[in-house]
Symmetry: C2
Subunit: 211 residues, 2 copies
DNA sequence: TTTTGTGAAGTTTTTCACAGCG
DNA sequence: CGCTGTGAAAAACTTCACAAAA
């Protein structure tokens, strides 16, 4: 199956919305309604959902519970992902304590930092190691996903350590700057400052249309 | 001038890279090299830069300092943007203390929160108001940009308060969930959980290509 | 009738390929 | 020659529009 990247991002949003609708007791919902609530075109919603089989009922819409379960299934993981967080600074700590990350789909197995104050302690219930231990700890604990929230200059060496564990498959990087990784390792970057700069650019140039 | 959204995001990255190259004493750089360092095709780099005039030298490449200044100019602001941060929780505090946000282009003018512990105090040098004061404070201080880091359920009412100040032009939202705003207000969303879910999806489905 | 599912059309973004200039 | 700048081609993504199902 071939699915576009933007489709997956929207799927996560459909899922959230459907959970809410389900709680509120809604039974059915149309692509039109989903689109209005999330700011997408109805045709976009239908196209996205159609990639994963015929799940709606013509003339009726989508059954909220059924569609929600269906999306959960699509986004489901074959196992609980073991995750490490490198960099327990402000941003790292914020992610760690973010309740949205308390999902049955993933589990923080280890923290890594360079600060002696943090090393050897548990933070939000997760043990913090010296980042030099990354290769061994990640190998032992079979950690496949790394969330990178270290200062920019430490990012590359940090990823290199993670790679040398032999277990790493994906990285979520909050670090600005470039990461060089082998082609079989997936990197998703979240560049907050770039997003803010983009906003400011389009604020000063309203004619250079955004959306 | 009509510029694509992805181009602006890349421009921010070019800028960062060029600052580094400049510090390291490099004089010229080719689109090829920029591309390799940031993970883009050389043609992409040239196309992006070409939207803003002929800045390179054929047969030579781009002069690092000149190109850097040129991009600074493109991304420059007509004024220092006055910014408010709503929600001084973990995420909000992380943003506030993030040195990358200490830019001459913007300035945090006010914080808003509901926590009595925070209201009336300065946090990282910025005064924190009760979020109910948003309309008056934002109007008085002429704050045009809001960074939204409040819990999802508070997001919409928070934006509504900001809108009623009559000053709001742009929002950078870390909140999950939808925001309804007038069409002349720009919203840029950063959905961290969606990014992580996307990463996990493409990890389990390597055939559904990412990038 | 209503609303889905989907080819086809449209739009946006990326990549190619090469002319043109230093 | 080497590398940029740029039309043209390709790819990716979105929207349209309508047949088909409930």
């Amino acid at each position: 199956m071939k699915v576009a990247e933007p489709t997956i991002e929207r799927l996560v949003q459909y899922h959230r919305l459907l959970e809410t609708l389900r709680e509120e007791g809604h039974r059915v919902v149309s692509s039109q309604q989903i689109g209005e609530m999330l700011g997408f075109k109805a045709s976009q919603v239908r196209k996205d959902l159609s990639y994963f089989g015929e799940i709606g009922k013509r003339g009726v819409g989508y059954h909220v519970g059924r569609l929600c379960d269906h999306i959960v299934e699509i986004l489901s993981s074959p196992r609980v992902w073991r995750i490490a967080l490198a960099g327990v600074g402000n941003m790292g700590a914020a992610l760690l304590s973010n309740t949205a990350f308390r999902s049955s789909k993933m589990r923080f197995e280890a923290l890594f930092d360079a600060d002696p104050e943090k090393i050897g302690r548990e933070i939000s219930g997760v043990y913090c190691w010296n980042y030099t231990e990354m290769p061994t700890v990640m190998a032992e604990k079979k950690i496949e996903v790394l969330i990178l929230a270290v200062p920019a200059r430490a990012a590359q060496s940090c990823v290199d350590l993670a790679i040398s564990s032999g277990m790493l498959r994906g990285v979520l990087a909050f670090t600005q700057g470039t990461l060089v990784v082998p082609g079989d390792i997936l990197v998703v970057r979240v560049d907050i400052l770039a997003e803010l700069e983009k906003l400011l650019f389009f604020l000063k140039q309203p004619e250079a249309v955004l959306e």
